[in-house]
Symmetry: C2
DNA sequence: TAAACCTTGACACACCTTTGGTAAGGTTCG
DNA sequence: CGAACCTTACCAAAGGTGTGTCAAGGTTTA
């Protein structure tokens, strides 16, 4: 008995069965299915569901927010498009001397990397 | 006459004045103010507003989505928390041979970098 | 000073998201 | 078999988002 059914999983994770199906539909936690089509929640899914709750509560997020983050993660083109827009800060380009434009573009790249690779501050996930 | 008032900006960007105020409130495009408190839209803001429209339409996003991406960009702790959750894939850790755990953790880091630094495929922003 | 702007704040409405039910029908198991 | 599950597919209510409009009051400008 390594995997729980949806109602049991709901009990131990604090979500309602209804929400577990919803969470699956938006792609956040998908449980494997039994041969008859029943969702089977293993330790991995249960942990994931619990940490999801904590994440939402701790950061005041909605499921939609996390779903969007996931979409960003999976869709490289989308990520590039959004990043490109966000990179164009409100500072007018006039503030960048014409000759420095190329370097500016390159730095933007570097900044992106730095922003995405913060010091390994483990803290979540262990809760 | 380098800066437009809100109604003029609305005309040239396709947004309504109402929406320009809304967009400002959610932190996406904030226009500097005149001494009397009037919003003054310069070329930078106008461009930003136009590309924002294209981004939303092209990618079928909502303003809230972009606002959340901005929040992710600015709040490092939030970004780490969300990334940490997303990194914990549905694959149970059992699938990783015990000894490889350390290497696994390190690779996760590398994967993150790779995901955040896609080949420089410029395309947007010039529209 | 008066017309034509601007500002914030409030009311309002349509639509989408989040959740809960409930119904019709398959599965498991005592 | 029958109780107690599961599944999907709807209807629905509460709350958030996107958007318009109007009011009361300051600013600009002719």
């Amino acid at each position: 008995m390594d995997a729980l059914t949806i109602n049991e999983a709901a009990q131990t994770t604090g979500w309602s069965p209804r929400m577990l199906r919803y969470i699956e539909r938006i792609g956040l936690v998908e449980a494997p299915r039994s041969s008859a089509g029943y969702r089977m929640y293993g330790p991995g899914e249960l942990q994931r569901l619990r940490t999801l709750r904590e994440l939402l509560a701790a950061r005041d997020l909605g499921l939609g927010d996390v779903a969007f983050a996931l979409r960003l993660r999976r869709d490289a083109a989308l990520r590039e498009a959004v990043d490109a827009w966000l990179d164009a800060e409100p500072r007018r380009p006039e503030s960048v001397p014409a000759g420095d434009w190329l370097r500016w573009e390159q730095d933007k790249h570097a900044r992106l990397l730095r922003a995405a690779a913060p010091p390994p501050t483990r803290e979540m996930e262990t809760a």
